[in-house]
Assembly symmetry: none
Homo-oligomer: 231 residues x 2
């Protein structure tokens, strides 16, 4: 399935136009923008060249949460590679994303942040997975439209290769949510975990099941392990 | 060896600036331009952001032949994949180029043509090899700076080999074993899980942390969640 591009508060119409062009270069046509339609200015139209249809069909949202409503799997981009200090956001590479993309059922949203600040923490929290483009440490911050084009290029390339179908049904959004809620209750009622670590514990568990692309059967089995705390 | 970027008669300073920025993103710093230095305009400087040094050090040439004088291996880019009618220019993909790049001795020049006409035939004749980015047939013409960024991205990636991801320390075998043992005890002492499902539960947890490439810090955090069952 083709990914949906979601731009969070882009600042420059030129970037949005350039993104729309590279979307068309790679056969992707659905664009969502968190922000208002004044971003589609003259410069956006010039740089979109032959892809104005994508710009004209862009949809606008007040918040990222609203933009993600019909998205099953959200991938956030982070400008720089985070080390261990940023445990919540261990990114995968665009190549790894392209591989995983073949196995994702449902709608994939690729979320790109602001040109200057990227995505805020509460926005990153809404994403299931993070991708980061390997760059030189001397200057890791890429132009927004370049970042989009590299990620779409990788996904387009991998879709050209023979897609081998792994017949394991990925867990649905609901199955993942039920599992996460059960784990959350387990953690909350666990007195030996210091309060300040509880949220981190839940976040890590969420990241692990996302990175591992947990299947429906796996999710149901693990639900069984955490169900007893309800009693 | 790092490639040299050669732009043939670019028309827009903005593109040259964006190219200079993505060169710096991927640790490449030598820029040659066929044309004159009036192309480095205000827009070029704005879009170069922190890479102005590359722009300032760009060298200018009257013809491609002159620009190629100290280049050992020239790779030309073609906007669209040429069919049989153009048998002289059967292109390779950026991934194939990145592979070959490792084996090339001497100076590699990456030659990019004009935004509208690309490279002329006599310029293509000067190139040893051609590369073409796979794109949708509906709109194969990419923005010049996007094309440069994708090719540099591939070359940069292939030069990294396994060095990327080193800064997120994967959990050691011991850390994973401790976590798995704690989870195993948690499952064993959990009376609400039917006996026959306990082994499956442990196996699935093991698979998840393997597929997710759990980090050392993540493993330690989750250990905290399962420690209490020991008491």
């Amino acid at each position: 399935m083709k990914p949906v591009i979601i731009l969070v508060n882009p600042k420059y119409g030129g970037n949005v136009g350039a993104i729309s062009r590279c979307m068309m270069n790679f056969g992707v046509n659905e664009l969502k923008i968190v922000g208002n339609n004044s971003i589609i200015d003259k410069e956006a139209e010039i740089r979109a060249v032959h892809s104005k249809k994508i710009l004209n069909n862009a949809k606008f949202y007040g918040t990222l949460q609203e933009a993600l409503e019909d998205i099953d799997f959200a991938v956030g981009t982070s400008g720089a590679v985070s080390g261990d200090k940023n445990i919540k956001r261990i990114p995968i590479t665009p190549k790894e994303l392209a591989e995983k993309h073949k196995t994702i059922d449902g709608r994939l949203g690729l979320v790109f942040g602001r040109e200057d600040y990227g995505l805020y923490n509460d926005e990153l929290e809404l994403c299931d997975l993070f991708v980061s483009i390997p760059t030189s440490e001397d200057y890791p911050i890429m132009n927004l439209s370049h970042a989009v084009s590299i990620i779409l290029y990788e996904i387009y390339n991998s879709s050209l290769e023979k897609s081998y179908n792994i017949n394991t049904n990925k867990a649905s959004k609901i199955e993942k949510t039920v599992l996460l809620n059960l784990f959350g209750e387990f953690v909350n009622k666990n007195d030996t975990i210091p309060e300040y670590r509880k949220e981190l514990c839940k976040t890590i568990f969420k990241r692990l099941i996302s990175r591992a692309f947990i299947s429906g059967k796996e999710a149901h089995t693990l639900m069984g392990a955490f169900k007893h705390v309800k009693k």
